[in-house]
Symmetry: C2
Subunit: 409 residues, 2 copies
């Protein structure tokens, strides 16, 4: 598979934008046309999951519908409409010796994606990697294997029909742990591995891969309510960041509140939270400030609940807030609510995360919201890409040098 | 050490350019002032190495002199003169909802460097990492341990004298393998590891590190002499790339020659190579073309000789040349000598390497030659940085978002 992917990648490397877009639009059309086959395969996955006692919320992530397949196709059309990053010359300069040195965006080559149950990742990840000129090797979870096989079969058929190498996408159909481990050793054939899923999957890939990894995902996001905050704005932002969707990495998991406004703020927040079943876990001061707050344990500060739960930490200064956040965060998204210019700047400068907000909800950390279009994930590492990763982040660069006989003295 | 580095990194994160430059200039001055102490320590390393039977060329890499220490100091002054990449806002846009989203260059945080015998790396690596706002943990080889300790002691003294946290640089003084392995596991404290040294060291780090790694170095660089090449230019470029310095990663290790010009080209090349003791190892056609060519084994195609040796491969087309290069190269620097516009463009587009040249020596792949100033190494991977890595490549980015109460609908 590695060898096939390398060969496909060499072809994709020089494929023009219009050909890539033709293949993507054909794929979108064929997914809709063949939706019945995909739904049947997905039905088998769903049935197996139910028999195995999978929780209803996980079954919901696994299940496809006509509408979901159409959304998948629409996502692919949107990727086709995005600007092609490949071939852009970022800089070009002439050196004193006459050498002309340019830096050009090129595809990464072969991208491996290891992911869990949601079958829509199969189509999304293919579209983004393909548009950026990369071959992909996908290794989805066993839960969605029938759906994934059906989706990949349709994509391959679409590629063949427009004379594009079908090995531009390959699916690892054997979903035991050993195949994932083997992918992590394929340094010669895979240029980068992107794990998409829960914290456990990501940790396994980071710890075992010798292929370079882009770490995505887990977000223990904080909102700090400063002593100068507009408390109504703070309530609105916290309510949004906690409850607009709970199972996502940019949801707020922890509140940090200045002691001087804590009582007043928690009073207003708890009133607003009556609309949703949110439980608060706080330190002693937070519990004194409001009886709705249950006691927090040390583990609460580092926990990504992904649920209607929120920890509350009391601080006496912005320095203490920043220190707490830099200790417990996962480098994803952090926000301050403040009216103080100085505190806003300090927070932006000193909090170490992919996205740092002043007076806005952490829920905006997302490729669409940032204006990049679709994204392959949100990088929480500092190497290569940090924050939402769009097409540009799926490319590398190459120096191209034009000479006329220069040698080094 | 990890904890100390994190604390130093938090201070460096907000340190202004003028303060960083003051510390660098003070370091350069103190290295010259204390050169006697450094030379004494280095003398102990050199004596130990000689007793242990180290080869003269390796002893030469290890040995310092007054002139080499002054060159080290001059290197640091040059880094002080480079533009500070930290704080640059690469882009800033206002979204339809009024959010202002900017992307800003920030330090990586803590950089770990694992390197071999040359003690000048200690000062070079510190200067570059420090200027880019990073704390460093250095782990040099046991051969140079006394020199490294003396250099780091001087740097720490210089930092203290200008009230900069001395833990901005830390040296691992225990040089057994276990300390290097421990560094590779310190994901919580080290943001990126850069190995500098031979292929064995780099492989060990890549295979064992769970900290993200930037792979540097090994270069099996090719020059392809096309059927349309100006053969005198080709001789001059090959002679330069092979012999100007042999022990470096951007030296040419392998020639690829179009069959139609092979005889004429090898005749001229062998005449020129009489100035230097270069041995050629070629395939059957190359041996038929010139008797100076000895037989090549399969291993020769993939070998980085770092010596007065050169392999010669015969091809019938540019496609065959590109396929050969993409199979055996290490992604470093590759060149074509040609008069054909079409072949030049094809080579630039299809050869997969950090730097691809038309009509110039591969020896130019270097931070100074590219106009970046000093470099920390040459990345041969596709993630984050590719090619010579200067200050900019030692930084990450962070999204900064200015809102006025936005929540996600």
């Amino acid at each position: 598979m590695g060898q096939h992917a390398r060969e496909a990648s060499a072809l994709l490397n020089t494929m023009g934008t219009s050909k890539k877009n033709e293949a993507l639009l054909k794929t979108a059309a064929l997914l809709c046309e063949k939706s019945q086959e995909i739904l049947e395969a997905n039905g088998r996955d769903v049935q197996r999951a139910k028999l195995a006692g999978m929780s209803p919320s996980l079954v919901d992530r696994l299940a496809l519908s006509q509408a979901r397949i159409e959304a998948m196709a629409e996502g692919i059309r949107q990727v086709a409409a995005l600007e092609d990053p490949v071939g852009e010359v970022i800089s070009m300069k002439t050196r004193p010796n006459g050498l002309i040195i340019g830096q050009k965006r090129v595809p990464m080559g072969v991208i491996g994606i290891i992911y869990e149950s949601r079958p829509n990742v199969t189509a999304d990840a293919f579209a983004l990697c393909f548009k950026a000129g990369n071959a992909v090797i996908l290794r989805g979870g066993s839960d969605a294997i029938d759906s994934n096989k059906a989706i990949v079969a349709v994509i391959k058929e679409a590629l063949r029909s427009v004379s594009v190498e079908e090995n531009s996408i390959q699916l690892v159909t054997d979903t035991d742990r050993e195949t994932a481990r083997q992918m992590m050793r394929l340094k010669e054939y895979i240029d980068v591995l992107i794990p998409r899923g829960g914290a456990g999957l990501i940790r396994t890939v980071v710890e075992n891969s010798i292929v370079p990894v882009i770490e995505t995902g887990t977000g223990n996001c904080h909102i700090y309510v400063d002593e100068t905050a507009d408390l109504d704005m703070a309530v609105s932002i916290v309510f949004n960041a906690k409850t607009q969707r709970t199972g996502v990495c940019n949801a707020c998991e922890s509140l940090v509140v200045h002691r001087s406004v804590e009582k007043e703020f928690l009073d207003r927040l708890v009133k607003r939270l009556k609309e949703k079943p949110v439980t608060l876990y706080g330190d002693e001061a937070a519990r004194e400030a409001h009886d709705a707050v249950l006691p927090a344990a040390e583990e609460d500060w580092g926990r990504e609940y992904l649920d209607y739960k929120l920890s509350v930490r009391t601080v006496d200064s912005i320095e203490e807030a920043i220190a707490h956040i830099n200790r417990y965060n996962t480098g994803h998204s952090e926000a301050i609510v403040t009216r103080s210019y100085e505190n806003a700047q300090k927070f932006l400068n000193e909090v170490d995360a992919a996205a740092v907000y002043v007076n806005a909800s952490t829920r905006f950390t997302d490729g669409f919201e940032f204006g990049f279009g679709a994204e392959i994930g949100i990088s929480t590492q500092k190497l290569h890409a940090r924050g939402p990763m769009g097409l540009k982040e799926l490319t590398s660069t190459k120096y191209i040098i034009y000479g006329n006989g220069q040698v080094r003295p």
